[in-house]
């Protein structure tokens, strides 16, 4: 009971001190904090250097997907319509981004490294239909670029985020 009164006033001092410090809030849309290098964001489909798609339409990614958000419809490659390097290619490749949980299992399941998860996380839309990404969208170079932290900072004995917290 005797310490109650001084401790009560101590509290006022603590709050008053904060007023003169700079707020630690990061002003998000203007300031984008760098994501860590292995951050799993928007997917990306890849091509070989000769322009052929890496995806062969095997549907292993769709099978591995826990959220069941990938749809693959395969078709045969023909000599005059060669799309991928393998026997077949993905005629339709869709990812429903509103269902995706960004676990990265598709990336692990893919035998040809055709699909990877990028770093982009600003993928909200006003319309749910716009969140179904087609093959063309996934093959194209992502429009938005997200700042990514230097991998060197993380792959060291004392990672950056540990030495700075």
């Amino acid at each position: 009971m005797s310490a109650l009164v001084p401790n009560t006033f101590k509290g006022f001092g603590v709050t008053l001190k904060q007023v003169f410090k700079k707020p630690i809030t990061q002003q998000y849309p203007e300031f984008k904090r760098a994501v860590y290098p292995r951050f799993r964001g928007r997917h990306r489909l890849w091509r070989h250097e000769n322009g052929l798609e890496k995806c062969v339409g095997c549907s292993l990614c769709a099978a591995a997907c826990p959220a069941d958000c990938i749809r693959v419809v395969a078709a045969e490659n023909t000599p005059d319509n060669r799309v991928s390097a393998g026997e077949r290619y993905a005629r339709i490749y869709e990812i429903n981004m509103s269902r995706c949980i960004f676990c990265g299992y598709c990336e692990l399941a893919c035998p040809f490294d055709a699909i990877t998860l990028g770093n982009d996380f600003e993928i909200s839309e006003y319309n749910r239909d716009d969140l179904i990404y087609t093959k063309d969208m996934l093959l194209a170079e992502p429009i938005k670029q997200v700042p990514v932290a230097d991998a060197e900072l993380y792959d060291t004995p004392i990672p950056y985020y540990k030495s700075n917290s």
């Binding site: 006022f12 709050t15 008053l16 904060q18 410090k21 809030t25 002003q27």
Partner: protein, 334 residues
Amino acid sequence: MHPHELWWISLIKAALIVNLVMGAFAMTTWLERKLLGRMQLRYGPNRAGPKGLLIPIADLIKLVRKEAFYPDSAHELPYIVAPVVSCFTALAAFSVIPWGPGWTIDGYYVAGTVVDVPISLILIFALGSIGVYGFIVGGWASDSKYSILGSMRTCAQLVSYEVALALSVLGVVLMGRSLNLVDIVAKQQATLWFFVPQFVGLCVFLLAGIAETSRPPFDLPEADTELVAGYHTEYSGMRWGLFQTAEYINMIVLSSLCVTLFFGGWHFPWVHSLDRFGPIWFLAKLGIFVCIFIWLRASQPRLRYDQLMRFGWKVLLPVATVNAIVTALLVVWV
């Protein structure tokens, strides 16, 4: 005592003061968020307008546009009238608070208050008591168990602390020898601002007043983190906004009462020639008290209900009573 004031001057003045108080209320919500933010190492609102100054307007638009539903089983008339009563009584208290010495503009006399009644202090307390009805009736008329429990909490707290609040100003009334706020302010300027001789009264008044306006750490009627919302659980839109307005204006009324009763009202210390700018000094003092209220909110944790009741009845009430008796004896014998 005063030269006669024309009725239309009073009317203009009333409109002016109501708008001024509403403006002060808007600024208070902004200041509270901003200051609370800075005390928690945040920025507070900084998107709507420069420094987030337009946030009260954004809030108003949001609240007005929001659907104001009410429960099917609610008692319609009291449900709708309750927030209006609370808000009206809170605003009406400003009619008797003196803003300045009175001015003569272009031959017309303008008094320092809207109305100068001989028992203005009692009027303020009476209006405050009616305002409590708004909170209680609103909770009851919602016909919801959360609301009724919330309004019972509010009722118990406000009734308990009103006793201590009224007793704490008794010392000031005895020293000022008047129930008129204008006379009390004049007496303070003639002798000494009452926060020195009535320091105990000031402490009791502030503590009881914080509880009376249900501000943290006495915000048990609402208790954001523990309860659904208290008596205004079933309110939404601008009806809820009116309750919120009433609470903030009550806080401003209490601060201005504190300034008027203990800190010389609209007077500027020592320099008498500056007294004609009364409203400026009054608002400055008011601002300091509002900041103290916000500071208190940022610093202190909420009381438990039994602590609240024990503090009100076993600490504040005896202290206020002893203060009143001692003041009375000193006033008679010294």
